[in-house]
Amino acid sequence: MKLIEKFKEIYKYRHMLYTLVKQDIRGKYKGSFLGFLWTLLNPLLLLLVYSTVFQIVFKIDIPNYSIYLFIALMPWNFFANTIAMGTACVSNGGALLKKVYFPREVLPLATVISNTINYFFSAVIIFIALIFFSPIGLSWFALFLPLIVIIQAIFSFACILILSALNVYIRDVQYIMNPLMMVWFYATPVLYKSDMVPEKYSFLYNLNPMVKIMDAYRSILYDKTMPSLNWLFAIFAGSMIFLWIAYLIFEKLQRRFAEEV
């Protein structure tokens, strides 16, 4: 199917997409503010543990380390959740897949959108922390945040298109992703600064697109400087190509979803 037709088809199913996203977000918060706080518990606890260990035990030399960590931990959490939920989204949608036709891309797309919206909610918490609980404050560069989030969302979408389709055929994928995400976490500058990585590994290191994405979040929120637009553009372009390949793979694999799921 041509790409334009696919876009048109997904547009036709926008109501379904909207309902799925709404279910996802409402299911998470159950309409209460306390519900939203619960979803923050996990990253806040991690923040507490990491900042204690790294400041007190490892004596890391980064001023305002807690907030420095928080700025990257929240988007990482967003990425990790998208991958975890996204990998299982098609195989969990079994009942629906077998009964009704809809473009299957809608399921991973809904996962990405609902997680992105969730991240925007939690970005408010980051802003509050920056303004009230740190000497850093906010600058106009924070306006770049949506751009970085969108690039990250496109990259995540491409990842879960492939992962969700593979998971239908080989259920191991969702279990392999757990340890893999842990490795990925340490290969991404969340706990540390990306320039702490020795020069000789930098080529390999920068192959991880999450590196420059995290750097960009830190530039705009922590350093209050311009993010590297060249890098952002490179990652955006790379993600679009990756998305296109992921789409072709998904399209190929989705033909047997209803039989395999």
């Binding site: 036709k12 199913y13 109501h15 379904m16 909207y18 309902t19 279910q23 009942a95 629906l96 897949l97 077998k98 009964k99 009704v100 036709y101 809809f102 080989i170 259920r171 191991d172 033909r255 047997r256 209803a258 039989e259």
Partner: protein
Amino acid sequence: MGKIEIDNEIVIKVDNVTKEFTYYEDKAYFLKERLANLKRTRKRKHIVLKNISCDIKRGETVALIGVNGSGKSTLLKLMSKIIYPETGTISMNGKVSSLLELGAGFNTDFTGRENIYFNSSIYGLGKIEVDKVIDSIIEFSELGEFIDAPVRTYSSGMYMRLAFSIAVNVEAEILLIDEILAVGDSHFQDKCLKKMKELKARGITMVFVSHGMGTVKEFCDRALWICEGELRMDDTSENVVKAYLKDQGLEE
């Protein structure tokens, strides 16, 4: 029988379609099983449909008949694009609503009402559009106050009543229905049939699987008899039902 006007536009075109299913004697979902069974896993291919071709015109009402396992439901699933054929093509021209093998993909933790919104959204209806038809859906389903209870508490009859009510109320141009008339009490069966007649009069194309030969003869213009995956006969419903019953050893 009042004949409605049928123009010659083909809305369902099934062209030389073959579908085969692969059965694994022990389906390996996990890599470990897959590796362990590498040599032992026996695949069996079963051809469900062989070189089926047929054209269905706008406004036609077509029944698929045949014994269990002959491939009727598979053909219906192919038309609804849930599964894909191995070879051949199927093209559908118009908005399709389908009701396949006992179910509509409800989320059983949600209430009937929430499922109406969700299910209709799959058929492209937004909240405003559903708001307009929701009363008639609820009324038709006769669920009463159960509409606000989770679907998992429904009996199979209630489930199907809701599924049918949604499928016929989403303004589709093509309706694919699998053995709906087998469930539900005779009162609801009559109601379904009446509704389907109404839709037929509105010029909606319908394809449905049925074992009720009386219904087929009375209600359908045309019938396709599928026997062991092949199209054995394609004629007026009267002729096909006659031949089918004769073959089954049941004279009228």
